[in-house]
Amino acid sequence: MSNRLKSILSGVGPALGLTLLATAAWAEEAAAPAAAAAPVTLDTGATAWMLTSTALVLLMTIPGLALFYAGMVRKKNLLGTMMQSFAITALVTVLWVVIGYSLAFTGEGAFIGGLDRFLLNGMEKGALALPNPIPESVFMMFQMTFAIITPALITGAFADRMKFSSMLVFMTLWLVVVYCPIAHWVWATDEKGAAIGFLGKMGVLDFAGGTVVHINAGIAGLVACLVLGPRKGYGTDNMAPHNLSLSVIGASLLWVGWFGFNAGSAVAADGRAGMAMAVTQIATGAAALSWMFAEWILRKKPSVLGIISGAVAGLVAITPASGFVDPKGALAIGLVAGVLCYWGATSLKHILKYDDSLDVFGVHCLGGIAGAILTGVFAVEKIGGTAGLLEGNSGQVMTQIYGVAITLVYTAVVSFILLKLIDLTIGLRVTAEEEREGLDLALHGETVH
């Protein structure tokens, strides 16, 4: 595996340098001017929806993702798996307040934000998060929930075998040097809504985090499972999910919470939010069905794990597109995502032989890439202000691909370096004995009786 890894990564260093340079130039030209006339005042309806959305997105991680993942591992790792999502929630909360929000959403730099909001300095009770008609505190909180779920998603790739302490260290570093910059590149805007980050300036569309959240977490997960190596007994032992009813609850809460994720990304309670919610639902339903039928045809039985995985694949794929496409586009995106991620989680993984335990790469990275690119195909000008390929704007697909590529390369390289550093210092992996005993007892001294 080490060899495969090397060959994949050998070309990345130079690529990284070049793309960053190329990008800086491109970005300047592509900057989209944002309209702003009357002074923005507090909209209590929008604020109400954003407070709610924040709760919904937090619900996605705890208990949503915690359950989705916990149901798929073996019983001896149930608590340890839930612990990862819960501890990341607490950890990122503090990191975000101390420095993360500031690095991601303040400043003028195209590559990284500033320190103006270090420890949330200067965040007044009444001040709005311009150009949005909601208080900055609400915007900061909403964004925090995204910063929480992204590292939590990664944990699925290395389930059952990473040291809890090293996981905390990795996530701390990763948040600061991977998540915050990428969020800044794509989402940071000035008070008039004009993009600041270089990907945003270039016109990369990512409504709710296909790139920032899903591709990002997915590729980091792949790198992590390659660096850590497969679970002991992978391919020979029975590693069947011990309780898929937990995963069904988790997938359901992810689905419900995703309304906050996508419709909340409109930062408004209006038609755009409504349309974002609608396309989210449509793509999810379509992807759940397309995965289910693909499996039914190929494997003779429609499985519960299949349909819930399909739903998550649809949610992932519609994420970047959700403020830009219409219901028909959503239907198409969902159908593609279900089948593609089915292939990713059931075939690609076995062909390439990595042990991405809970298919973070197969579902989140592939689904995210599909969604990001298809956003460029199906974007409707009347909905999100940008036309896609089908409306004649052929350049958008290339822009989307560019955004995807940058993220893949940057995250893969930096995650690899971080993991190797940690491995060389405090070690990444539990001992064989601990792995056999299970994380619950070995790391946390508890079991499910």
Binding site: M72, N238, M239, A240, K301, L305, S309, T346, K349
Partner: protein, 112 residues
């Protein structure tokens, strides 16, 4: 006295119990076990990973009886537990040297 241990299909448990009562069997003890044998298990598929479930759910009945009752008990179990399909299970008979009822301290025949 004999200890009769029968491994049967789980859904046959109630029928077997009912078949024993008329013989005068007043008690028995049951455990959930997993059986491995000629009967082949189901295949479960999770996101493309196949797991053949080698061990099938079975129920183990243990019943202690007096020597004279043993044959009839074995026969009753065989009749009640049979479906004729593979995996119906086995019956094993061993000797017991002593038996006690904890509540009263009675022993052997009276204890059963």
């Amino acid at each position: 006295m004999k200890l009769i241990m029968a491994i049967i299909k789980p859904f046959k448990l109630d029928e077997v119990r009912e078949a024993l009562t008329p013989l005068g069997v007043q008690g028995l003890t049951v455990s959930e076990v997993k059986g491995f044998g000629r009967q082949k298990g189901q295949t479960e598929i999770y996101r493309g990973a196949e797991y053949v479930v080698n061990f099938l759910p079975k129920v183990k009945i243990e019943v202690a009886v007096n020597d004279d009752l043993a044959d009839r008990v074995v026969e009753a179990i065989q009749t009640a537990a049979r479906t004729g399909k593979i995996g119906d299970g086995k019956i094993f008979v061993t000797d017991i040297q002593q038996a006690f009822r904890i509540r009263t301290g009675e022993s052997n025949a009276e204890a059963l």
